[in-house]
């Protein structure tokens, strides 16, 4: 018996859009041995997920396998009937999707969903399946393994759900599990826990895995071997350590170098009146306070990064400043003057100076307006520009965000890529000629290379127009690149704030330490060392108490 589990040869997959077929996967080979973990890496659109799904001989609707062979454990999958394939999927090959929250059925308890596959496929009876579920819940380190299965998906946290999903994938002891970006939607501190769980469990059961991610540092922890994909083609393939220490292709090197961008100078605010001061603000929805006594300030030309996990109150702070959520206590000062609490009571000039750039550029731009109107509206609304003058200014702004005016001015947002949309959002904010811009996770929906471009652009604009930024993010790499000051938030309170160099160099607050140490590093040994270190010193490993 050979050790080869999966063998894909010369795979070509087509996708259809607007009745035209175009290639998504262009002749790829893939080999996987038993117990081996293969990392697939690339930007969005590289064909990672399509290839991962193809390992089960499954294609998304609107796609078709045009050529190639997929041999799983000696069987040719492309020739099998749907019935045979169904017996294979879930039992011998399992799939863990990016969003566990979207993959679980919200109407059933976790353990029901766990038992479904083994029972339907006659692998186990219901009683054994439930006993097995509890055992696996224990192994993936879920709290209360006996009881947690009887909860509904919305009653457990995102990280726990992702671990329950991993346990579920193991229910039939498959030979192969495909992990499709299982930690992308999670906070860094939660990500660590899930990564550790996945890695240990895969080793324990000697399961082969395909691990798909766009985050190189994460893949480096998980995989024995890495394949770099781009535009549906293989760029480079090597054992993890070789790949990390000695990438050969230019594209791979560029992926490695992404995190190299760093703001050149540090701006220290010296004026007496900062551009924006958040003074003792307490705010929340209903009875609950989301923000508790928050105070921080942002000076001219300065970037203040607000860091924290989801639910820490970062975005609520932005809503308070813009006036969408009037604070219960405290106030917002702009250039020394107190701003009305609600945006409805603010005048045009006050509104103009506080602009916002959103995380999802897709929903931040009206799909039925041309770029000309999207950028032009603040010009005519705030600055009373009309006709030729307005047109010239729109073109000027487009050049500023590095989009060719003639090519883009008449387009709709649908006709732009993700990064370009985010650039247009920036131009819209700039059009108001503000002093202060709130950037709410502006790069987290973008590929790393594109995100890097956006960061550089924001940095350049800041220097040109002496803008103040409030940068909300959970990504510490971004913070390191762009921030002057850092505010670390946890459960609605500020745990630490100050200059970046101070906050990020020891000694720090326990939580800052946890955040910092949780950011994956390129070193393949990083996760092992971190876990060993944490076990030895018994440091705080999680903020979730549930």
């Amino acid at each position: 018996m050979t050790n080869r589990l999966l063998e894909i040869r010369n795979l070509e997959i087509d996708g259809e859009s607007d009745e035209v077929w175009h290639e998504i996967i262009k002749g790829l080979d893939l080999d996987l041995d038993r117990g081996e973990v293969l990392g697939l890496i690339g930007e969005s659109g590289a064909g990672k997920s399509t290839l991962g799904l193809a390992a089960m001989n499954f294609v998304r609707p609107g796609c078709r396998i045009r050529e190639g062979t997929i041999r799983f454990d000696g069987q040719e999958l492309t020739a099998q009937s749907e019935t045979t394939l169904r017996k294979l999927r879930g039992v011998r090959i399992a799939y863990v999707a990016q969003s566990a929250a979207a993959s679980f059925n919200p109407a059933h308890q976790l353990i029901d969903q766990f038992s479904e596959i083994p029972v339907v496929h006659n692998v186990k009876n219901r009683r054994d399946a439930e006993a097995d579920a509890k055992d696996l819940y224990r192994r993936v380190l879920l709290p209360d393994p006996e009881g947690i299965g009887y909860r509904y998906p919305h009653q457990v946290s995102g990280g726990q759900l992702q671990r329950a999903m991993t346990a579920m994938a193991l229910s039939c002891r498959p030979d192969l599990i495909i992990f499709d970006e299982p930690t992308t939607a999670l906070d860094v501190t939660t990500q660590i826990e899930v990564l550790t769980t996945i890695r240990d469990i895969v080793r324990e059961f000697n399961t082969a895995a395909i691990y798909i991610s766009h985050d190189l540092a994460v893949v480096a922890q998980m995989a024995d071997r890495i394949m770099v994909l781009r535009y549906g083609e293989l760029v480079e393939e090597a054992a993890t350590r070789d790949m990390m220490s000695n990438p050969k292709m230019d594209y791979t090197k560029s992926l490695w170098a992404v995190r190299s961008f760093k703001k050149e100078t540090e701006t220290v605010g010296t004026e007496i009146n900062p551009v924006v001061k958040i003074d003792n603000v307490t705010a929340g929805y209903g009875q609950e306070d989301i923000l508790k006594n928050i105070t921080f300030e942002i000076h001219r030309g300065q970037t203040v990064a607000i860091v924290g996990e989801s639910g820490s109150g970062k975005s609520t702070a932005a809503r308070v400043i813009t006036g969408l959520l009037p604070p219960r206590l405290g106030n917002i000062q702009f250039n020394g003057k107190v701003l009305p609490k609600s945006f409805k009571a603010r005048n045009k000039d006050q509104l103009r100076h506080v602009q916002m750039i959103y995380q999802m550029a897709d929903t931040a731009l009206n799909p039925r307006q041309r770029i000309r109107n999207i950028i032009g509206r603040p010009l005519s609304f705030y600055l009373n520009l009309r006709g030729q003058k307005k047109e010239e200014r729109i073109r000027e702004l487009l050049s500023l965000i590095e989009l060719e005016p003639d090519l883009y001015i008449d387009r709709y947002p649908d006709e732009l890529s993700g990064g370009q949309k985010q650039r247009v959002s920036i131009a819209r904010a700039l059009a108001a000629e503000p002093e202060f811009i709130i950037c709410d996770e502006v790069t987290s929906a973008l590929d790393q290379l594109v995100a890097e471009g956006i960061l550089r652009l924001l940095d350049r604009l800041q220097r040109e127009f002496n803008l103040a930024y409030m940068f909300i993010t959970h990504d510490l790499a971004t913070v390191k690149a762009i921030a002057d000051n850092v505010v670390v938030m946890l459960q609605g309170e500020i745990v630490e704030q100050g200059r970046k160099t101070d906050v990020f160099s020891p000694p720090h607050h326990e939580y800052t330490e946890l955040l910092l140490s949780s950011v994956p590093e390129m070193d393949p040994d990083w996760l092992n060392e971190l876990i060993a270190h944490r076990e030895k010193h018994g440091v705080m490993t999680s903020t979730s108490t549930s």
Partner: protein, 297 residues
């Protein structure tokens, strides 16, 4: 322009855009056969409705021959129970029935659409009030409610229009409110509100273009329902009053002929059916176009 950002489109998009009229004409040429049929039907009905007095050989209310005359040279489609020319009344019927239905639907959309938009944007007490009033109105079967109101307020054409428009506006309120709520939660709407935009701009520029597709579909459906409702009311004797020619009442007036195997009374019904079909074909095509534009590429 950074090199790593691939443009999802070829440069053809940047060629000078055609004028609007040319664009519409081109689209119509490319339209499927059903849509062309719909356009043809609606245009010809419109033509007939406008030029009815010129096209017809006799007057709308004129008694010109014997009762229930058969089809022939003098009366192409025969005469009705009072000796009026059937063809003449059919053509005038287009003017009355379609005209009233059109005005009613527009009015219903103005009332229902505006309140729906306001309810979505303001939420709070206005939304509660409007929604509960609509709930009450919708709780009563529409036809029975209309019959009751028409009995109370009398059966003139303006009352007919207002009553049906009000009752239909409740449905449009629901649809508009629901689809607007989907837009109101999006970031670009928030951005516009934070810019300090007025209500009018928010409705017209931010929400309306994004809910146009479902509203157009609703318009097509509503137009047909209103149309059928007027016909039904007329058939029951509470809609358009004689001697005004109207397709619904024409079916009723000549219903007795059906027992003799004559298809004449069916003609107004066929006219109704064909228009309903035409409007729906057109709306289908429109929906297909607008949704294609949205998720294209």
């Amino acid at each position: 322009m950074t090199a790593e950002e691939a443009t999802p489109l070829d440069p053809q998009i940047s060629r000078p855009r055609r004028t609007r009229l040319q664009g519409v004409f081109r689209e119509v040429l490319k339209a499927p056969i059903t849509a062309k049929f719909g356009i043809l039907v609606i245009l010809s009905y419109g033509f007939v409705a406008i030029f009815a007095p010129v096209l017809t050989p006799y007057g709308e209310r004129e008694i010109v021959g014997p009762e229930f005359d058969v089809w022939g040279e003098q009366f192409i489609l025969g005469t009705d129970g009072l000796g009026r020319d059937m063809l003449t009344r059919l053509l005038f019927g287009a003017r009355n029935t379609v005209g009233i239905a059109f005005i009613t639907t527009i009015l219903a959309f103005v009332i229902g659409g505006l309140t729906g938009l306001f309810a979505a944007i303001y939420s709070g007490w206005f939304d509660q009030l409007a929604s509960r009033v609509v709930d009450v109105l919708m709780a009563i079967p529409q036809l029975i409610f209309a019959l009751m109101l028409l009995t109370i307020f009398g059966t003139s054409i303006p009352t007919l229009i207002i009553v049906i428009a009000t009752l239909d506006a409740t449905r449009i309120f629901r649809v508009t409110r629901a689809v607007s709520l989907n837009v109101v939660v999006l970031d670009y709407f928030e951005a516009a509100r934070l810019r300090g935009e007025r209500m009018f701009w928010l409705c017209i520029r931010e929400i309306l273009p994004n809910i146009m597709a479902p509203l157009m579909a609703e318009f097509g459906l509503r137009f047909c329902f209103v149309f059928l409702m007027i016909a039904a009311l007329s058939f029951l004797g509470l809609g358009v009053q004689p001697p005004t020619a109207d397709w619904g009442s024409m079916v009723r007036e000549n219903a007795v002929l059906i027992t003799y195997g004559d298809i004449t009374p069916i003609l107004p019904a066929i006219a109704i059916a064909v228009l309903t079909l035409g409007v729906n074909f057109l709306v289908d095509w429109f929906l297909h176009k607008s949704s294609g534009l949205k998720d294209g590429h």
